[in-house]
């Protein structure tokens, strides 16, 4: 909404500040001036305003002038548009409000013999062509411009009908089922029985408070005019406008609550503009009011306000005396309230008809603070409350995040949404995918059931931009359920592709592989206290491995018997579909399950001061025997002095069998209390050889 300072100064000739200062003062009182544009000598400035939705009263020149008057303590003259004497009518124009619940007031004035012409500056105070020129508001005709002038001046929407097209009189009612109306925008509309319409005795004429009708619009041939100024219910106007996809200057104002008492003033303003070019009034103003609505708009019950409550809510001011009773009275009176003192420092406050947003004492307290000036309140701090409580999983989340970061993964955040196809691919629980009613796009049609699609998208994004080394993880929410009930769970996804970062001038590059990522997963799991952590794989026919994973290069992660995630190489089919040539490693952990575990607490173990003895065993194994078998066999020995065993090397060699591989096992023996004797070591070695032999390994000759 744009405001002319020239127009404001016409209402308030005594404004003591320049346009820049006025803008600043208004803004600091909540009437925000977003931009100031000088219009040249004598024309003042144009303010681009950003008025909050609750302040419809300030979405016009007179309303802004009222705020300025309150700030500077000026008197704002009431608007008054004297009209010539009316000619007598044979009978009053017929107006009937049928929809009494949503039309609170309807005024109608009959003008005859008007001449439709171009707008001019009709008389002092109504400089239509000057103001519209400065506002760059298109001039159409004196009738149309008069109604526009009324809302720009004082916020009240009005409407001018071609009286000769009206049959009988006006009825404000709800539309009939299937009723048709061609609106001013040329659209032929089928009305809804809930739509509020202004009708005559034969047909709907206009969408009440939203848009006039085509058939009764003012044309150059119009000579007789009916001027409407009414009060329509905000919700009724809003719903009608919504249903028809309309948002007009009129509906914008009615939706936010118009001034019940402004109808007669606006009617006079519009009429006086039209009559300035000839014509006369016929009959008295017809003014139909619904008392029930008047009682909750113009004639609301006074609100009681206590100074102590003002202090309780607002607190300390920079000024020593604080908010005084005098301050309260001056501010509220300037805004149009009337105050009656009940006891000392308490009032009954009568509310102005144009401020439907004021309703309770807190609303008045806000007005006092606003006009007094927010920045005149002191900066104080409340007393310290109770202790600070951490979320139960905060430390665990930090452990997961920190571990991925220290493993060289960057944290990322992806979209909350994915396509239905991606959801079907990645949902851990198929079918429990939640669609959106109004998605941003088809690609964002559902709530993500997994972080994997987002991770794959980000990996692809990097590769397609020729960023070839990618390490990312995302901590986020995944969704499952139905449109009736949605479950949210925390998860972490991770993805990696490209070379290890250790490559440099002196070392050859090496592609990151499954076991690098497995290492990161192990590091994360190691942060938690768990008895049984294992990785396993399922035969393809079991169809348990997620479709996005390579069935033979992927692992399930299980902790205490429950699946906590999956990871591995992206299925080549998926890689091809995403045009990813490099093997991509990707996975997801279900953090809600991991968070059930306590974090591992460090309990330091004594470090033996006796010499460890390392023994290597060169084994030959059948391809079908995985490391896990050897690992378990050694664990089964339960030799306390066997403190560590690991794979030192795995290699394939033409000299051994075709279906066999070599494994160099490194074992370390150490006792906490003594140096191991040779016979002990020989005994341990023999037991190791026996155990791995039983597991299917033979010693390499």
């Amino acid at each position: 909404m744009n405001i002319l300072t020239k127009w404001l100064r016409a209402y308030l000739p005594g404004l003591p500040v320049d346009d820049a200062q006025l803008a600043e003062d208004l803004t600091l009182r909540g009437i925000a001036v977003e931009g100031i544009y000088s219009l040249g000598d004598g024309n003042g400035s144009l303010y681009e305003m950003d008025i909050t939705t609750n302040r419809v009263d300030a979405m016009n020149h007179y309303g802004v002038a009222r705020e300025a008057a309150a700030i500077y303590g000026l008197a704002l003259p009431a608007l008054n548009f004297p009209l010539p004497q009316a000619k007598a009518a044979k009978s009053p124009f017929s107006v009937r409000i049928e929809a009494e619940d949503v039309c609170g007031r309807y005024t109608a004035r009959v003008l005859r013999g008007v001449k439709i012409a171009d707008s001019r500056d009709w008389f002092p105070g109504v400089e239509v062509s000057t103001y519209f020129g400065l506002l760059q508001q298109k001039c159409i005709s004196n009738a149309v411009d008069a109604t526009n002038y009324a809302w720009i001046a004082m916020g009240q929407p009005t409407h001018a009908f071609d009286l000769d097209k009206i049959v009988g009189g006006i009825v404000v009612r709800r539309a009939l089922k299937g009723e048709k109306l061609k609106t001013l925008d040329g659209m032929e509309r089928t009305l809804d029985p809930e739509d509020l319409v202004v009708a005559d005795h034969a047909k709907a004429l206009a969408l009440a408070g939203v848009m006039g009708g085509w058939d009764t619009m003012i044309t150059p041939a119009t000579t007789n005019v009916l001027v409407e100024a009414a009060w329509f219910d905000p919700m009724a106007v809003r719903k009608t406008a919504r249903r028809h996809g309309l948002h007009t200057d009129a509906s914008h104002r009615f939706e936010r609550g118009a001034d019940f008492n402004a109808a007669t003033v606006a009617s006079a303003l519009v009429s006086s503009i039209l009559l300035a070019n000839g014509g006369s009034i016929e009959g008295d103003l017809v003014d139909v009011r619904i008392p029930a609505i008047e009682a909750c708009t113009a004639n609301r019950k006074p609100v009681s306000l206590e100074l102590s409550e003002v202090h309780r809510i607002l607190g300390a001011t920079v000024d020593e005396e604080g908010i005084t009773a005098a301050t309260v009275e001056v501010v509220l009176k300037a805004l149009g309230c009337e105050l009656t003192k009940t006891v000392d420092a308490a009032w009954l406050v009568t509310l102005p008809s144009w401020r439907l947003d004021l309703d309770r004492d807190i609303d008045l307290i806000e007005e006092v603070a606003r006009v007094y000036g927010y920045n005149r309140f002191r900066n104080t701090l409340p007393a310290f409350g109770e202790g600070v409580h951490a979320l139960p999983w905060a430390e665990k989340e930090a452990a997961v995040r920190g571990t991925f970061m220290s493993a060289g993964f960057h944290e990322a955040i992806a979209s909350t949404f994915c396509s239905a196809a991606e959801a079907a691919l990645s949902a851990p629980q198929p079918g429990l995918v939640v669609p959106l009613g109004n998605p941003l796009s088809e690609e964002a049609g559902v709530l993500r059931p997994s972080l994997v699609p987002g991770m794959l998208g980000m990996i692809a994004g990097n590769l397609h931009r020729d960023v070839n080394d990618v390490r990312l993880f995302e901590l986020g929410t995944v969704f499952s359920g139905t449109t009736e009930k949605v479950d949210e769970r925390p998860a972490v996804a991770f993805g990696a592709v490209g070379s290890l970062p250790e490559q440099g001038a002196l070392h050859p590059a090496r592609a990151i592989d499954f076991h690098d990522v497995k290492g990161a997963v192990e590091q994360v799991l190691a942060r938690f206290q768990a008895r049984a952590v294992y990785f396993d794989r399922f035969p393809a026919e079991a169809a348990l491995t997620p479709e996005w994973l390579h069935p033979y290069r992927a692992a399930r992660v299980a902790v205490e018997g429950a699946t906590v995630g999956w990871f591995g190489q992206l299925h080549p089919r998926q890689a091809a579909a995403r045009k990813l040539k490099e093997p991509v490693l990707v996975g997801e952990l279900y953090l809600d399950r991991l968070y059930n575990l306590p974090l591992r607490k460090t309990a330091v173990r004594e470090i033996s001061r006796f010499q460890p003895v390392r023994r290597d065993f060169s084994l030959v194994l059948d391809e079908s025997i995985p490391w896990e078998t050897i690992d378990r066999a050694l664990a089964g020995l339960q030799i306390p002095e066997l403190v560590d065993w690991r794979v030192r090397e795995v290699f394939r060699d033409a000299k051994i069998g075709a279906r066999e591989y070599s494994l160099l096992l490194g074992a370390t023996f150490q006792a906490p209390d003594r140096t191991l004797r040779e016979e002990e070591l020989q005994n341990f070695q023999a037991r190791v050889v026996a155990a791995v032999g039983k597991a299917g390994a033979r010693l390499r000759a």
Binding site: R29, G30, A32, T53, N54, M235, E255, R256, R312, I313, L314, G315, T317, I362, D363, I365, E366, Y374, N375, F377, R378, N379, T380, L381, P382, G385, E386, L391, R401, F404, S406, G408, F409, H410, E411, A412, I413, A414, S415, T416, V434, P435, L436, G437, N438, P439, M455, G457, M458, V467, R471, F473, E474, T477, F479, T483, E502, G504, A505, L506
Partner: protein, 368 residues
């Protein structure tokens, strides 16, 4: 290495012995002087002191064996002295380590770039969220969270956005499908702000409340340089007896100074949010120009950063349905909310909000 032969000893008089031992000692000293590397020192040890083929062993076996009985004692004395000298030379060689020349041969190019491990970076949004929650933790605020899929009741109605209220227009909402048949307040939507957690918190505990709520929120907005349908907010709520508007001002002034530096000034002006009254927008003095006016603050010297206000009694009335202690006549409170992306963009000079969600390694790596 000294390859000179050990002289033959033909006469065993004192002079002959002296000369012969002097020759061998000179050979040993010459050999020791040339030692550079640890390998050479070891070779010296083996050559001179080796048990089988060592030169001293040779001296001993050749000379001592041939000596007449009366010469064996003086020869033995001289031999022991020689052995001590050689051992001394060896100790010296071991102690002083390799020579400079030997070290120079091992030179490397230290100007080649170091081999760097990738340091994982915390996402700038996480970083900023954590900074904000830390500032408020120091003021006694715990962290609260709530669901990203909310009901209309928590997101709107209990926050004093009645059904059909124009204020709802300011928050275009993404909704879950198939909600039309449900009652308005049960309809599921993607929360448009973190404010619903205010109500969830108050419903679950009586006052006092000091809580900050970080979280992801969604709106049905078109993406541009500064707007995204996905963004993050931090909401704050403080409820207690005697909480005032000046407490709100002081708290946020303190928080902004903690976040942006003690020179930052704050300025409050009236705004409108359905769930607070009085409501305010807060500006901070421009952190780029210090308030003098620059391109970043559109020459105003101020940057708008957050919305806040005193909790509206209507919101307390909803909380009272489950926790009667939220009587707006007895308690009061304030709430505030800030967009995390906006703060992160300002702090780190990010020009496109979309960069936060693209997962681009080149962008994220800068925060390591």
């Amino acid at each position: 290495m000294n390859n000179e032969d050990i002289p033959n000893l033909t006469a065993f008089d004192e002079a002959s012995l002296g000369e012969a031992f002097a020759t061998v000692e000179r050979q040993a000293r010459n050999a020791a002087a040339a030692l550079g590397t640890p390998e050479a020192v070891e070779a010296f040890r083996l050559e001179w002191l080796g048990r089988k083929q060592g030169r001293l062993n040779e001296v001993s076996s050749r000379w001592l064996k041939a000596a007449p009985v009366e010469s064996k004692k003086p020869l033995g004395l001289r031999f022991n002295a020689l052995k001590a000298v050689v051992e001394g030379l060896l100790d010296e060689a071991l102690g002083s380590g390799p020579s400079d020349a030997a070290l120079a041969a091992e030179a490397i190019d230290i100007t080649l770039p170091g081999t760097r491990r990738l340091t994982g970076a915390e996402h700038p949004i996480t970083k900023t969220l954590n900074e904000i929650t830390r500032v408020f933790a120091a003021l006694g605020y715990s962290v609260g969270v709530g669901p990203e899929v909310e009901t209309d009741f928590y997101n709107f109605e209990s926050m004093n956005f009645p059904p059909g209220h124009p204020a709802r227009d300011t928050q275009d909402t993404l909704v879950v499908a198939n909600q039309e048949r449900r009652s308005q307040r049960d309809r599921l939507l993607l929360r448009t702000h973190t404010s619903p957690v205010q109500m969830r918190t108050m419903e679950s505990q009586p006052p006092p409340v000091r809580i900050v709520i970080p979280g992801k929120v969604h709106r049905n907005d078109a993406q541009d340089a500064t707007h995204s349908p996905i963004f993050h907010q931090v909401e704050g709520l403080c409820v207690d007896t005697n909480i005032t508007f000046s407490d709100l001002k002081g708290t946020l002034d303190h928080a902004m100074k903690a976040l942006f530096g003690s020179a930052v000034k704050t300025r409050f002006f009236p705004s409108f949010f359905p769930f607070t009254e009085p409501s305010a927008d807060v500006q901070i003095s421009c952190i780029f120009c210090g308030g003098k006016g620059c391109r970043k603050c559109k020459n105003s010297g101020w940057i708008e950063l957050l919305g806040c206000g005193m909790v509206d009694p209507a919101v307390f009335a909803f909380a009272q349905e489950k926790q009667p202690a939220y009587d707006p006549k007895k308690i009061s409170g304030f709430a505030f909310g800030m967009g995390v992306e906006r703060i992160a963009m300002m702090k780190y000079g990010v020009s496109e909000i979309g960069q936060f969600y693209a997962g681009d390694m080149r962008f994220l790596g800068q925060f390591a």
